[in-house]
């Protein structure tokens, strides 16, 4: 019976190691946190062109990540892109109404993210509000086109 006990122990350890491995993959590799996700609130922003912005992209403020892009859809009224972001709940009621959103690129070829900058208006943005002042993504082709046409003028 001795051998059977060590075998049971071995199988138990094997299973335990598998579960611990899954926990490691969850916490360390995919970066989930055990803490309950804090309060968040939603903001919307319309961009003329989002470039290659993707859902789950970062939303930053002064370089600090404060939220993520939740969804991107086409606004059929204006035919531009409506980006829905969820931001840290501690910013609710803190951001001035004339804050601006810009789509920025990490590095020359890196992923795109949204950068928010604060305005100065006394009124603040609440859950579900829309950012009016936005700056579209930098599209390399357009930039080159501008460059070429300005070269041609000279």
């Amino acid at each position: 019976m001795k051998r059977s006990k060590t075998m049971e122990l071995g199988v138990g350890l094997f299973m335990l190691a598998g579960i611990l491995g899954l926990v490691f993959l969850g916490l360390r590799v995919s970066g989930m946190s055990l803490a309950v996700p804090g309060e968040t609130f939603r903001l919307e922003a319309n961009f003329a062109n989002i470039g290659s912005l993707k859902p789950r992209a970062r939303v930053t403020m002064a370089g600090v990540t404060v939220g993520r892009v939740e969804a991107i859809e086409l606004d059929t009224e204006w035919y531009d892109a409506r980006v829905i972001m969820t931001l840290d709940g501690s910013l609710e009621g803190e951001l001035p109404e004339d804050s601006t959103a810009a789509i920025l690129t990490a590095g020359l070829l890196g992923e795109q993210y949204i950068g928010l900058s604060v305005g100065g208006a006394p009124d603040t943005l609440a859950d579900g509000d829309t950012l009016r002042d936005t700056q579209s993504a930098l599209v390399l082709e357009e930039l080159i086109q501008q460059f070429v046409s300005s070269m041609a003028k000279e």
């Binding site: 059977s4 071995g10 094997f14 360390r28 590799v29 590095g107």
Partner: protein
């Protein structure tokens, strides 16, 4: 001419027939309430199939993670993007390499052993004797092995990924000097638990079912001679490797096809 067509037809019938047998065989052995004794049998098989395969799977995972980091670094450094090394190592391990390589190793290490064991039981007429004394060999011999494989391979795959990511860190961070924070940070920013870890585990569940099914069925269905056993063992490894690689493409297309 007619002889060729006749042979082709017979071959088709044979293949269809054995597919049908395999399906029935799976249905008959997988269902049924496990008894306490059945649990003990299952435990012994998990030990044989899972715990004993741990060493080869973990060592392979370590080396594959290390090679991924080394190869990835030399490519990424050309673009000045070596910070993305962690992301590359983790995603390629979780999505592709861990499920597939672990399944291939599992087919070689455990699948062939299962086929040979059951095949020898059949050749020495142990299975027939069991039937004679009223014990169902499907329940007693096949079902515990099937379930053991189904449980073990996903656990082995998880182990493979964990060790691989660690091996990647060993080479990338400790040796090649990628900043540790960007190795883990980029990884955490790009790996999604449900989409990447979850789909990898789903893949390994499918592979586990297919590989153990093929192994056990080949053992049960072989011609009970020494040549038959050797043929069936070869077939187990060949068929399961092909099935794993083929299914991997289908599953990848289903899971990540719309991600471009």
């Amino acid at each position: 001419m007619i002889e060729t067509i006749r042979r082709l037809g017979r071959r088709g019938c044979d293949i269809t027939e054995s597919l049908g047998r395999a399906g029935l065989f799976l249905a008959q052995s997988a269902v049924g309430v496990p008894s306490r004794e059945g649990c003990m049998l299952w435990l012994r098989q998990v030990h044989f199939v899972g715990v004993m395969s741990l060493a080869i799977v973990l060592v392979s995972g370590l080396f594959i993670g290390m090679v991924l980091a080394l190869q990835g670094y030399t490519i990424l450094v050309d673009f000045g993007a070596e910070q993305a090394l962690g992301q590359m190592v983790a995603l390629s391990l979780l999505r592709e390499l861990a499920p597939v390589v672990a399944a291939l190793l599992f087919a070689g290490r455990a699948g062939s052993a299962l086929t040979a064991e059951i095949g020898l039981m059949k050749a020495t007429e142990q299975l027939t004797s069991m039937e004679m004394i009223g014990v169902d060999p499907l329940r007693r011999v096949v079902a515990p092995r099937l379930w053991a494989g189904f449980v073990s391979l996903p656990l082995l795959t998880i182990g493979f990924s964990v060790v691989g990511v660690w091996g990647g860190e060993l080479v990338g961070v400790e040796w090649l000097g990628v900043f540790e924070g960007s190795y883990w940070g980029n990884m955490q920013a790009s790996v999604s638990f449900l989409d990447d870890v979850g789909n990898g585990v789903i893949k390994s569940l499918v592979f586990a079912l297919v590989v153990t099914w093929i192994a056990v069925f080949q053992g049960y269905d072989l011609i009970p001679t020494s040549e038959g056993i050797s043929r069936a063992t070869t077939r187990t490894v060949v068929y399961s490797s092909l099935a794993v690689l083929g299914l991997d493409f289908v599953l990848t297309a289903l899971m990540f096809g719309e991600l471009s």
